[in-house]
Amino acid sequence: MKKTLVLLFACLWLSTSLFVWLYPKQESSNEERRKLNQFPELSLDTIIDGTFSNKFESYTQDQFPYRFQMRQAKAQFRYYGLGIFENNDYYIDGQKIMKIEYPLKESEILKAKDKFETIKTMYFKDNDVYVSIIPDKSYYSQKQTIPTIDYEQMENLLLTDSNFEYIDIKDLLSKNDFYNTDIHWKQENIETVASTLLESMDKQVPEYTIKNTDTDFTGVYYGHSALLTSKDQINYIDYPALEEASVKLLDRDGLSVYDQQALSNRDQYDFFLYGPQAIVEIENKNATSEDEIIIFRDSFGSSLAPYFIDSYQKVTLIDIRYISSSVLDDYIDFNNQDVLFIYSGTVLNTSSMFK
């Protein structure tokens, strides 16, 4: 019997090894949203200095057959075998994949505050400037033993000795307002947030209908966590002004508000206003006012902005992670616009990326 089992093990193992060597190599991973390591450069220099051997292990990990399924198996074993429900800093609460965001980095929040004040001083000396923070999804988790960012402290740091008008939206959300598999909130669930923000600026949310893209959506948390949960669907709000609005990016214009093309791409959330863009201008000639608004934002702003289009003739979205704040006046004519800084706590906690 031992002979049979040894030979069986050897056959399984050797054939698996052969399969690993011959399995077609992948350029990138849709689930992890990144390029996968390829076979490293092989030369005498890279062998002697150890570069080849160092990179080879990363290559074997990235190119392992059914890598994503193996990662899911690991996540399941951690949960059911070891009793650890966290995997790579992600965990599941109900159906929602959450990320552990901790601790609060006070120096980063102060940097963000400095940046906002600098921008205000440069461009909006006399304007009312509104600030709002979007808590990360895990803030709403019911798992009490998970450490989360202290948002009260974040607010204190951002607002102490500042001229910003703060709009607190923490209590307007719950974990069900976020996608299962993504960091972002669901556009159809943030009417109260949009309404609160607009009302601060004497505006209102329009009447709209909710439409479905009829596309399964797996967000960024799905691939990174390898945890099992049900997929999402992207719904979006629609009203007549949205269909007539015209979107202009830095490199093209005459676009619609929603990017249907993105639904077949890797990052389906880019459906909302074309994803990561330095500057997006949305013009609506049929707006209920002639006012304009500038929203300094991260990706959450992409799904929030469509609520504003009805009330403003022009909505300008700026992401200062992709464009230096010192050159904004080369692109934008600053006058008496309403100004809103709205960022997720996660981005504020790493504000060193602001330019």
């Binding site: 019997m1 089992l5 002697i48 051997s53 292990e57 990662r71 198996a73 074993f77 009793g83």
Partner: protein, 460 residues
Amino acid sequence: MVFSSLTFLFYFLPVVILAYFLLPYKNTVLLISSLLFYSWGEPKYILLMLLTVFINYICALKIIQNREHSKVYLVLALFFSLGALIIFKYADFLILSTNNLFNLNSSFLNLALPIGISFYTFQILTYTIDVYRDEVKVQRNFFTLLTYVSLFPQLIAGPIVRYSDVEKELEHRHSNYPMIFQGINRFVIGLSKKVIIANTLGEITQAFRLLEHPSVMMHWLYAIAFTLQLYYDFSGYSDMAIGLGKIFGFNFLENFNYPFMATSITDFWRRWHMSLGSFFRDYVYIPLGGSRVSKTRWIFNILVVWSLTGLWHGAAYNFLLWGLLFAILLMIEKFIKIDTKKHSVLRTIYVLFVVVLSFVIFDASSLSDMLNSLKNMLFITNTPLSDINTIYYSSHYLFVFIIAILGATPYVKTTYLKVLNRFSKNTQDIINFTLCLLGFIICVAMLVDSNFNPFLYFRF
């Protein structure tokens, strides 16, 4: 390259196994594969290892040929082998100590530490010294000797295999299916200990190191996690080495024997890293006179051996203190003459307490860091007792701690064997095989998704 890597499991080992069992020149296959294994991680310093082996090879031949001057050749072998170890491992520590002592400002050499130098140096010295003592026959074939030293199952992280233990097997060994079956089982057990338990516990130690102000209980959680991580990491690696050895027909000696069941520090060191302990006993302690000397000389011998044991683990003061701590406790135990038949539970608790604290010293990045940790653990500071991190790690990793603690006792194995013995031999083999396969698959899945996979004893 480490055993717990996809490179080793699916690229290196399959080729070596096939070549070993299909080709006639088994030692040649082992030698070439071992040199490849070493140069994979250490292409530059393979020459140092080759030179060390060559010098010892020549010295051992000269010892036999020239008995009158055999001591000269022994000293030459020791001088070169230990000299290389001292230069690469301890030069900067000695420069730092000299700078501190004499207020100098000499610059450091910043030499990279060749992988496994502590292990292969001791290994080749066991050969040369045993030849000098006439305890083993000299090996006239350089390549056979090189195969022994460079043997990849135990080259970079032990156990320290003495030449005398494998002398016969180097020339005449055989693998049979029961041995290979045992070897595979042992290898997968070691791999599981390392990947499933040690790496998971390592998440706690890594998280602890990133915390700015850990609570008192977090310090304790880290200390226990690190102690268990070190055990599973190192004993897991030893299991893999022993398992691989069996597959190739070698019978390496055990390196761990349930050290956390020890009822005294003396007992602990008879169960933890046994190959290192026996090396220092046979090649340092006994030549110094052992315990058959005056009390003062005995104390000196203990202090020397344990200072060296500490420093073998690392070139820093905390390792020296770690070694000396054990020296003092061993001396106290010897003087007190504990009745080993009484209060075994209390004594085990005492051993565990000391061992956990000692590994905090072992892991400290500096003396001030060490003192800070110990003060926190002994409630000598105003640090809060607990915080959200403590709650998180203690609650979420509780089951892992339970598995790790139970697995560190012999009860899991004895219970498993009791249950297994209810079945026929064939069924037992099938159960073992199934569990082995399952363990292997789980380990592979964890390695595919792993960015954290160190071997803690790799740095020696």
